[in-house]
């Protein structure tokens, strides 16, 4: 070789690490890792514009009236109770284990995976609030009601399938949900007990 081959100097990449560190730190600062959690609820569909106020006849025994006043007091049917008692009360209502005539009526229903069952699928829990009810009381009530359903579903899942509801297969979960459908209705707020 007559001519000496020129060596191309390598690009000094030692600072790339620093650059990417800076990027990393930027993302660490501007983003948040906290997974958002919350109580998932589903609103009823909007009423049809030409729909009349069709009062759906619900037997009195099938309804659990939960009322909240502006002071945050809780009334279930005709009793004042504490929020902590609500879960037990709701469970008793939804399950109606002894088929009492004061609690929701039971129907024979053929559920895939569970067979013939007697379920209280006509029950409704009606939550009525005042415009002045504090949100945290309302939230607690919702939480307790959902907890009641979850506990009942878990109990049923363990009795029938030997595993808690969360760990069941999709089909079994559907069966359990058909047995205990979540029926929490929210009426328009009224002014209870002044403002």
């Amino acid at each position: 070789m007559a001519r000496k081959k020129k060596k191309v100097p390598g690009l000094n990449s030692s600072s790339t690490a620093d650059i990417s560190f800076i990027l990393l730190i930027f993302f660490l600062v501007t983003t948040s890792m906290d997974t958002d959690m919350g109580l998932a609820r589903r609103l009823p569909q909007p009423p049809e514009p030409n729909q009349e106020d069709a009062q759906i006849d619900v037997k009195e025994r099938n309804v659990l009236n939960v009322r909240l006043n502006a002071a945050g007091n809780l009334m279930v049917n005709h009793d004042f109770i504490d929020v902590m008692q609500l879960r037990a009360r709701a469970k008793e209502f939804i399950e109606n284990r002894n088929n009492l005539s004061t609690l929701p009526e039971k129907h024979a229903k053929n559920i895939e995976g569970l067979g013939q069952c007697y379920v209280t699928d006509k029950h409704v829990i009606s939550v009525q609030t005042d415009r002045g009810t504090p949100y945290n009381v309302y939230f607690l009530v919702q939480n307790e009601l959902v907890a009641a359903y979850n506990e009942l579903r878990d109990e049923l899942a363990i009795a029938k399938f030997g595993r808690p509801y969360e760990r069941l297969s999709e089909d079994d979960q559907v069966a359990i949900r058909t047995y205990y459908p979540q029926k929490i209705s929210e009426a328009e707020p009224k002014n209870y007990g002044g403002n």
Binding site: S20, L24, T30, D36, R42, L43, Q45, Y135, P189
Partner: protein, 150 residues
């Protein structure tokens, strides 16, 4: 040559893969975290509950913040309960436009979830108003944001 001379040099560590390593961490963080989208103009402490579910699809979630204005803004805005949508205060009826606008940016509008971050001491009246508007705009999946309590 070096061996012949006998003065052994410590070999330098090869750091050429270090940037790749850091980039991997960077991408990890970019994927698992979310950008802080809005500057909060209301302050709120969400209630705590036990029966909470995680918000799954981050891209399908829109946030509604309800609470009193932050301390800096209280002088101008008062201390009444306010609704914040994106970067500004809004009235309950404006929620409908907000829902529609959020829907256009979503890949899967059917699974739109409205996450409501509401201060504990809010009165239910304003929340009922929002819920009524959400119903009318067919945003039926809602999520009351909360912290876990044992």
């Amino acid at each position: 040559m070096a061996k012949k001379q006998g003065n052994r040099e410590m070999p330098e560590m090869n750091t050429s893969s270090l940037p790749d390593l850091i980039f991997t961490i960077l991408f990890f963080f970019m994927i698992v975290t979310t950008m802080r989208e809005v500057t909060l103009k209301v302050k709120f402490t969400v209630p705590s509950g036990t029966e909470l579910e995680k918000l799954e699809k981050k891209s399908c979630v829109s946030f509604i913040y309800v609470g009193p204005p932050t301390d800096q803004l209280r002088a101008q805005m008062g201390s009444g309960t306010r609704i914040q949508l994106n970067d500004r205060y809004a009235e309950p009826r404006e929620v409908m436009d907000f829902v529609a606008q959020e829907r256009t940016t979503m890949s899967d509008p059917a699974s739109q979830v409205m996450s409501m971050k509401i201060d504990q001491n809010t009165q239910m009246g304003i929340i009922t108003d929002i819920k009524e508007v959400l119903r009318k705009s067919w945003a039926l999946k809602i999520n009351y944001s909360a912290t876990r309590r044992n």
